[in-house]
């Protein structure tokens, strides 16, 4: 009897929890709208104030004055800033029309979409690489604090975090393409082309993950509950990987999420140095040619991905930590 009742309550709780999750996710997605509008405004303004006339960029410096004027009129560049901005947002909201690239004359997403797989592959491989070496080595470093391996890992990870990405990329090219000739210096004609970009992106991010894993693990293994577990006679590796690591994971996952978002947006440097046709290199291309619609749309897409990843991170928190779950998904 008692069990039946408590079972019912649990089921209702689960169900209610599910509805709450959906509500929470919807709320977060709605919140994205003002954020994205803000991002659009920011980029719009920045592009406005950078020097150079898009019409001149498109037609070339030699172009006659009337032609430039005509194009400006045609692109609507002569209207006031506010009008152009609201027109831009209005078209997106009503027709999902992000405009036309001034450089290629294609609708911007025709240029962007083929590039998504490249950036996505780089992001997934990069973050997988970073996580796979960051977490275990971070744990090792913490458990063997001040040992030789800890010292080596600390020095190497500090260097990797501090080193500029382009320098790392160029060193890799020098070593593996020019000198050893093992890997292509650029392009993604096969997966081999991803090896160096993945190391370039994943190395520094993995080092960041390693460092945060180390510091949170050092904190966790000194906690009272770890002592309780030891007093129970739980084996050491279980204490480290099950008890301490699970508690240490929250800040680690935040770092992973942030880095993932950043790489997903296209690691601009890695994509340029290794000439990968991803979103990051498209943004560079757009900025160089003052192709405002392409730049804004790309950045909006990056911001959108980033927000989605952060939402996933927050949901993961609730999955890992029952206290957070209780706070957001069971209340009311």
């Amino acid at each position: 009897m008692y069990n039946a009742i408590s079972c019912n309550i649990m089921l209702v709780g689960r169900f209610g929890g599910g509805v709450l999750v959906i509500k929470y996710v919807t709320k977060r997605l709605l919140l994205l709208i003002p954020i994205l509008i803000g991002v659009a405004f920011l980029i719009f303004t920045i592009m406005e104030f950078t020097p150079g006339d898009p019409a001149v960029k498109i037609l070339g410096i030699e172009a006659p004055q009337e032609a430039v004027e005509q194009l400006r009129e045609q692109l609507g560049l002569n209207r006031p800033f506010a009008v152009r901005f609201f027109d831009y947002i209005y078209k997106i909201v009503t027709r999902l029309d992000f405009g036309m690239s001034w450089r290629t004359k294609n609708p911007v997403f025709m240029d962007i979409i083929p590039r998504i797989p490249v950036s996505a592959t780089l992001a997934f491989l990069g973050i997988a690489f970073a996580t796979l070496f960051g977490i275990p080595l971070g744990v090792l470093s913490a458990v063997k604090q001040y040992s030789k391996s800890d010292n080596v890992l600390r020095v190497v990870s500090t260097i990797l975090v501090a080193v500029p990405t382009f320098w790392l990329a160029m060193l890799l090219i020098l070593a593996f393409s020019s000198y050893l000739a093992w890997l292509p210096a650029g392009g993604v004609h096969s997966y081999v082309g991803y090896i160096m970009p993945v190391i370039t992106c994943g190395g520094p991010y993995g080092s960041a993950i390693l460092r945060i894993t180390r510091s949170t693990m050092l904190e966790e293994i000194r906690q009272d509950y770890v002592r309780t577990a030891r007093a129970k006679g739980v084996p050491n590796n279980i204490i480290i990987y099950k008890h301490a690591l699970q508690n240490a994971l929250l800040p680690v996952i935040t770092t992973i999420g942030q880095n993932f978002g950043a790489i997903l947006g296209g690691s601009v440097v890695a994509e340029s140095v290794f000439s990968l046709p991803g979103i990051g290199s498209l943004v560079i291309l757009g900025i160089k040619s003052k192709d405002t619609p392409t730049v804004i749309a790309s950045v909006l897409l990056i911001a959108f991905f980033f927000a989605i990843v952060m939402l996933a991170v927050d949901l993961m928190y609730a999955f890992i930590d029952p206290r957070i779950k209780a706070k957001y998904f069971k209340a009311e």
Binding site: S6, Y225, T228, A231, G233, N247
Partner: protein, 334 residues
């Protein structure tokens, strides 16, 4: 002779940090027989938890260090066991510990049921899931928590219930020795009484020996067979219940301890609380550690460490008392 379970001899423990060396335990001796309950009393910082952690070999790895002494448990020297034996045969199996602060002693991201079953899982030979689950239910019932709550997390429990869970973890493997480090200080008075009563019942039912660490002489009176009073890392007085609660001979510090609790039935001499503070354990004075706060302090107390006065089971470390064989001219006793 009764069966000797635990024997601590001349145990000295320090904490060494970059700034200072804390002399937390300074040469204590404890003997505990099977099924007995020892009350370890003393004010905060006296070294009670440190003593308990030394028995379990759970001192903080980098800072805590046993300088000298031995801990013999069931005839085996604890300090000579391998780490693996310590884990398999001692911790959670023969000796269990209830930790001081139930708020932090539990893993926040594991259900209480899992935390209890872990203690069983790593010690029982036949590790079938159903058997373990049944034992978890049983031990939860034992401490007065409905087994239907075993899938909940620590944050869903009140402080008193967390304390019960911590006790349940310690009892799960039915240890021979249970070290309870202030199991009731985090609780309010009514729950305190309940938890103590429960522990007393469990002890009687399972025949577990216990070291009950506490500040509270009331707790000692309720549950213990023997008492050791600790001060600045030393046991300054020990004996059975009669020696401590009935005898008129006491260390001045013990007198003070009794003075610090209001006792309606007692005479006037038990009404003065101890003034002053315990000496800094990183800078202990020469001679008796209690000299600065002692109203009977003599010249010899500032020069030499006090000798131990023995009267049957009653031991007092103070120059106020002299052993019969040492006694020369006249009776110098206070």
């Amino acid at each position: 002779m009764k069966d000797e379970l635990l024997k601590i001899e001349k145990l000295e423990v320090i904490y060494k940090t970059s700034e200072e060396t804390v002399q937390a335990v300074n040469g204590i001796d404890i003997v505990l027989n099977k099924g007995e309950t020892l009350g370890l009393v003393g004010e905060t910082g006296a070294g009670k938890t440190t003593t308990a952690l030394s028995i379990m070999r759970l001192l903080p790895e980098r800072t805590g260090k046993v300088l000298s002494g031995n801990v013999t448990f069931e005839g085996e020297n604890i300090f000579e066991l391998s780490d693996e034996d310590m884990r398999m045969k001692i911790r959670g199996e023969r000796i269990a510990m209830i930790f001081q602060d139930p708020m932090t002693a539990l893993n926040p991201v594991m259900t209480v049921g899992d935390q209890i079953s872990e203690a069983i899982y790593y010690h029982s030979e036949k590790t079938n899931a159903a058997g373990i689950a049944a034992r978890v239910d049983k031990v939860l019932e034992l401490v007065g928590i409905s087994p239907s709550r075993k899938n909940e997390y620590p944050h869903q429990f009140s402080g008193g219930m967390k304390q019960r869970v911590v006790i349940a973890i310690a009892l799960a493997c039915e240890p021979v020795l249970l070290i309870a480090d202030e199991p009731t200080t985090a609780l309010d008075v009514t729950i305190q009484a309940q938890v103590l009563e429960m522990m007393g019942e469990l002890r009687d039912r399972l025949g577990t020996a216990m070291i009950m660490i506490t500040h509270d002489l009331g707790v000692v009176a309720q549950i213990c067979d023997k008492v050791a009073v600790m001060y600045a890392g030393e046991i300054i007085e020990s004996g059975n219940m009669e020696d401590i609660f009935v005898s008129k001979e006491h260390h001045p510090y013990t007198e003070g301890l009794f003075g610090a609790i209001p006792d309606l039935a007692s005479e006037a001499k038990r009404l003065s609380p101890i003034t002053g503070l315990m000496p800094d354990p990183s800078r202990l004075p020469q001679g008796c550690n209690f000299q600065e706060r002692c109203s009977h302090c003599m010249e010899i107390c500032t020069k030499k460490n006090p000798e131990t006065y023995v009267n049957g089971t009653h031991k007092i470390s103070c120059f106020l008392f002299k052993n019969k064989e040492d006694r020369g001219d006249g009776d110098e006793k206070k």
